[in-house]
């Protein structure tokens, strides 16, 4: 086959009308502008001069958006706010895949940790797209770390997680997810896994073919998500589970459905299969590249959530700064957002009306009892706090701070992982509360995590 014949083949394949208008320049432009706000600056952070700036800035806060955007107008942090040194451990905790604080696994090599991280990144992103959120709880009756981890005893990457599911905050639906992947070394595991997983008459098995490999689909009722030696209570639950047989690895995921709602659609075998397909396991010899968490990511996500929650707003990414509140926060004379363990991100934004508003994100892990929910951690000692209806996994409230720098904040305490997270809007130059209502702040908060 000569070059001209190849060109002819390609020309025939590409022939026919193309509706190029479906790629609209203005749509691309708008999406590109939004993406610039979210653009990661890790490359700038290690470029030398910028790293030196960060090292100096770390003494008080992390000035972010390092200057090549047009709207660098200085920091958004109020000038009189007492702050102290930020600790990168907060970032590690904030970026835990399972939102929890479970002990990290021991004995993983750096390569195995990177393989786990790559798998976790894809899996938890896919789970979020399905509406699942990690409960952040640490199982005590079986190994529970931050998502996938390498188990040296069995030479397998394994995970056990509990996830809340669905959009109804009043529901108590959750799932128990287990999964794993191992490298086959060329051995065929299809027959073995089918005989091991499908002998139980309470399950139905079938096969599907995908580009990545064959998939063994299993659904029915099972009790083998419960360890009888360490766990008690009801044992049989509906399950959906699948095994993907790739060339170099077998990947499995299974959901044990702990649902009480009658109307909520549970994840099905299609969902499980799609999750399996996105988990990058490679061949075990080289881990895919992953990006370490950075303060810029936090501010990028915050800016994107603001823009998604408030149509028409323009975030001045160059003003973003992350700080930790100083220990004297409750005596400096200004708004008291939290305590000395509260981390905050401040950023300026222009509303569609043209008014400039200071938005802030605040977060910390708080071991509170229900009675203390509206206490110091939420800054409710010197503000008006109103608890609103929540669900089994969260306790939301709205806080109004008065005085010279009034603000409205939507806060949420998450009972699963203990995080108290809030999004607020504050007047920049004093005066009245900015025209950003609680519903908009709730929407931005939902977009954060």
């Amino acid at each position: 086959m000569n070059d001209d014949e190849v060109r002819g083949l390609l020309a025939r394949a590409a022939s026919g009308p193309v509706d190029a208008d479906r790629v609209d320049p203005m749509t691309i432009l708008r999406a590109g502008r939004r993406r610039v706000v979210r653009r990661r600056r890790i490359g700038a952070a290690v470029a030398g001069g910028a790293a030196a700036m960060l090292a100096v800035g770390a003494a008080v806060g992390i000035p972010l958006g390092l200057g090549d955007d047009t709207d660098a107008a200085g920091s958004a942090v109020p000038g009189d706010l007492p702050t102290q040194t930020v600790d990168d451990a907060f970032l590690d905790q904030w970026n835990r895949f399972d939102h929890g604080d479970c002990a990290l696994p021991e004995g993983q090599s750096d390569e195995q940790a990177r393989i786990s991280a790559a798998a976790n990144q894809a899996l938890f992103t896919g789970l979020a797209a399905l509406g699942a959120e990690p409960l952040g709880q640490c199982l005590t009756t079986r190994p529970d770390h931050d998502g996938f981890h390498y188990d040296n005893d069995f030479d397998v990457y394994t995970l056990n997680e509990a996830l809340a599911f669905g959009d109804d905050p009043s529901a108590v639906d959750w799932i128990y997810l287990r999964g794993g992947f191992w490298y086959t070394g060329g051995e065929d595991f299809e027959s073995q896994m089918e005989s091991e997983e499908c002998f139980d008459p309470r399950v139905t098995c079938s096969w599907d073919d995908t580009e990545a490999g064959r998939v063994l689909l299993i659904e029915g009722v099972s009790d083998d998500f419960t360890d009888p030696d360490t766990e008690s209570g009801p044992t049989e639950y509906p399950i959906v589970e699948a095994f993907l047989f790739r060339d170099e690895a077998v990947v499995s995921l299974g959901f044990s459905l702990r649902y009480e709602s009658e109307d909520l659609a549970a994840p099905d075998l299609d969902d499980v299969t799609e999750l399996l397909l996105v988990i990058p396991v490679g061949d075990g010899t080289e881990a895919p590249e992953t990006e370490p968490p950075a303060w810029d990511d936090l501010t990028d996500d915050f800016a994107a959530a603001i823009e998604a929650g408030l149509p028409g707003v323009e975030v001045a990414a160059g003003t973003a700064e992350a700080v930790r509140l100083g220990p004297d926060i409750d005596s400096y004379g200004g708004p008291v957002y939290g305590t000395g363990d509260t981390y905050m991100v401040f950023v300026l934004a222009e509303l569609a009306s043209g008014e400039t508003v200071r938005f802030f994100l605040q977060a910390q892990v708080v071991p509170v009892t229900e009675e203390d929910l509206d206490g110091a951690a939420a800054g409710c000692g010197l503000a008006d706090c109103e608890q609103v209806d929540g669900g089994p996994w969260n306790r939301p409230l709205h806080r109004t701070i008065g005085g010279e720098r009034p603000s409205l904040t939507a806060l949420e305490y998450r009972t699963g992982d203990g995080w108290l997270v809030g999004v607020g809007a504050e007047a920049v130059d004093g005066g009245a509360l900015p025209p950003v209502d609680a519903a908009a702040l709730d929407a931005i908060l939902t977009g954060i995590r």
Partner: protein, 170 residues
């Protein structure tokens, strides 16, 4: 980005979107994925527009597109933004032409993604081995071996599917 830069960017999108869509389609074999990949690639290009040399912007855009297409095979399932889009153009309006197009596309689908991408860059876009290597982020040796393997697969197909195939071999 300045208004002038944005105008130049929009003009570039207007001028190149047809070619990019065809290149993406030839590489991935699906118009939905091609459209998604081209949009994603151009959005990424926007972020780098001010730093991109105009002389090499075409090659740079192809590099972004190649990476997006490879990435799609692993992550494409939750790009749901196309769920509400209109279906792609109906290529079956002219039966004979559509049949030839579909047959050619089916032949290309026999090739693994990277071999297909290499042949598209080499023979559809007429790029050199060196340029293809830069776009695909691989060595020139890998480009040559992907080209050879892809051509062999195509050659074998025509040899087995047509009694006159002998005459079309190189």
């Amino acid at each position: 980005m300045t208004p002038q830069s944005e105008l130049e960017f929009c003009e570039y999108v207007q001028d190149t979107r047809d070619a990019l869509l065809r290149t993406a389609y030839l590489t991935c074999g699906d118009w939905h994925r091609a459209e998604d990949a081209v949009q994603t690639s151009l959005i990424k290009l926007y972020g780098a527009w001010n730093r991109t040399r105009r002389a090499t912007v075409d090659a740079y855009t192809r590099r972004i597109l190649a990476n997006v297409l490879v990435d799609q095979t692993r992550r494409g399932w939750f790009r749901r933004e196309r769920a509400f889009a209109d279906p792609p153009p109906d290529h079956a309006e002219e039966p004979d032409a559509a049949e030839g197009q579909a047959e050619a596309a089916a032949i290309l689908a026999r090739l693994p993604l990277k071999q297909r991408a290499t042949l598209v860059l080499r023979f559809w876009e007429d790029r050199s081995v060196e340029e293809t290597a830069r776009i695909m982020r691989c060595s020139t040796g890998t480009v040559k071996s992907n080209t050879a393997r892809g051509l062999r697969t195509l050659r074998d197909h025509f040899a087995t599917s047509s009694p006159a195939g002998e005459g079309s071999k190189r």
